[in-house]
């Protein structure tokens, strides 16, 4: 495979080019390697269902709140009306919105998982994402389970206006209650995790893991660079940069994510009952 070939020899349904090293990767091999480049370890984006398969113990995942979908509270129209935009994304992805939630065990620890999907309108957070993560946290609290949220999002969904913004407070309220009850929340940041998602639940994990080289930042780099009108530091807003600045616990290669989560949940495993009442 390592000799040079012309582009036409790589039909796109069979091959994918790595944006980092330029290597042409055979799709089947790429999928078998968890969508990580075999040459340079570039982490391609991973869909929510594939991510769940990677994290949840085999056969343990039970989806919840599958049918929630978005209203159109603002009657929002840009180039397309918002409902049409939603419908197109639903048709393309087979999902109702940008997140899949459910219960599962992870390394044997009863958990609730919420996994975002960047392919659904940029993983943007509207009322459905807000409601589903909130319910996931409430479910974890009710069942005394751990909560894992995997983020992949450009931020709040502007087609839902200030209602989308309020989802930040809504989700955080539920997470805070989870924390007060001594239940663990692990946040996993994947490429990209930005805006209102990073400025809310994604930054509040008891432990925060990130995939290598994921974009992790509050403002878009374009905005930031515009603000100072100059070049940004090397690696700016990438996982390793954010790790060095103290906001991430570990950068974890995808192949080790499951094992790392299992260890952490095992260590932070919630007590069967709320220890606040045990004095």
């Amino acid at each position: 495979m390592p000799f040079a070939r012309g582009r036409k020899e790589f039909p796109s349904h069979l091959w994918t080019q790595c944006p980092t090293c330029g290597e042409m990767l055979f799709n089947k091999q790429l999928v078998r390697n968890l969508n990580v480049c075999l040459k340079c370890d570039h982490h391609f984006k991973l869909g929510a269902r594939e991510r769940l398969e990677l994290i949840a113990d085999k056969g343990s995942f039970l989806e919840i709140d599958r049918e929630l979908s978005s209203g159109d509270p603002l009657g929002f129209v840009d180039s397309t009306p918002y409902p049409a935009r939603i419908l197109a994304a639903q048709t393309k992805s087979g999902e109702k919105d940008a997140i899949v939630c459910g219960t599962a065990t992870v390394g044997g620890v009863p958990s609730v998982l919420a996994v975002m999907d960047f392919d659904f309108i940029g993983g943007s957070m509207g009322s459905v994402v807000g409601e589903k993560i909130t319910r996931a946290a409430e479910r974890a609290l009710a069942d005394r389970r751990a909560l894992i949220v995997v983020s992949a999002s450009g931020g709040a969904r502007m087609q839902e206006g200030t209602l989308a913004l309020m989802q930040m407070a809504k989700i955080i309220g539920a997470l805070a209650r989870l924390g007060e009850a001594g239940l663990p929340f692990v946040s996993v940041l994947t490429d990209p995790t930005t805006g209102g998602v990073l400025a809310s639940f994604a930054s509040l994990g008891d432990v925060i893991l990130a995939e290598p080289d994921a974009l992790v930042g509050f403002s878009g780099a374009r905005v930031t660079a515009g603000t100072i009108g100059e070049k940004l530091p090397k690696g700016f807003q990438r996982s390793e940069f954010v790790l060095a600045h103290g906001f991430i616990d570990q950068v974890v290669p995808r192949s080790q994510l499951k094992e790392r989560l299992a260890f952490l949940l095992g260590a932070l495993r919630p007590a069967a009952r709320d220890l606040r009442w045990s004095l």
């Binding site: 840009d78 502007m158 209102g196």
Partner: protein, 322 residues
Amino acid sequence: MLDRLIGAPAKAVEGNGHSADASGLILSVNDLATKKITAWQAVQLARDQKRPHALDIIERVFDRFQELHGDRGFRDDPAIVTGIGELDGRPVVVVGQQKGSSTEENIERNFGMPFPEGYRKAMRMYRLAAKFHLPLVTLVDTPGAYPGPEAEERGQAEAIAKSIETMTTLPTPIVAIILGEGGSGGALALGVGDVVLAMQNAIYSVISPEGAAAILFRSAGEAERAANALRLSAPELLSMGIVDGLIPEPEGGAHLDHDATGRNIKAALVAQLDRLARVPVGDLLTNRYERFRAIGSIVEPALDGSPPKAEPWWKRALRIRP
């Protein structure tokens, strides 16, 4: 399928049970005396440099205000002012975003765009309020959290998230007032209250109209169109249940009469804090949770054909099993 609009208009306002009607608040869009201004006019008014800013209001509302400084970690951020003031003789912790009233002051105040250390200062004051059982009043007025690289490096997102978290569980009454410009997460970091009020000409949005226009219409010039689409004006916020009431502004806007504006705010604050002081802290926190919990617009099919009831989350939580 049922279009269940969680947190619909009137419900949310009455739902949290704390909105006064005796303090001059506008509690329904129908009550707006003058005809509504356009979204774009609201944007202009909310940003007016002559509009009263946090310190202008603090000076008029509180007696013997003492500003307290510092985040105890990196820097005292002048874009957020904090302190203790007396409201009708009762001590109150105040946290507000501070824009400048001149170009020089705006440079000093970073145009009201806080750095992470600003939010960390705010959090310190939130905790101080809780520790000493003082009510908390926040004044929101910012184009947004500062988006520069140093702010990113020092954790702008983390600071906002922790600020919101601190407010959601803070065991003391909180009244948040959207004073002028409520710019996205950077505003919400001061915006979680038992009661959230907005000035009549304030705005509150997930993104600036200019930012939205640039993304959606590929042109910042379409800001006016974006402002309309975003429904960011105070009456819209009220009708969506995002704010619980509007504080009336003097004819023509708050910038024309700072004193009258201060009087209206003071009346609203006194009435709200009077009510909140009577609510046991456990109920306060439950209601605060439910208030934000109810916001959003989702469509959920009923599994058995009948519409799902709106009920407290813990009832749902105790009932549902996979």
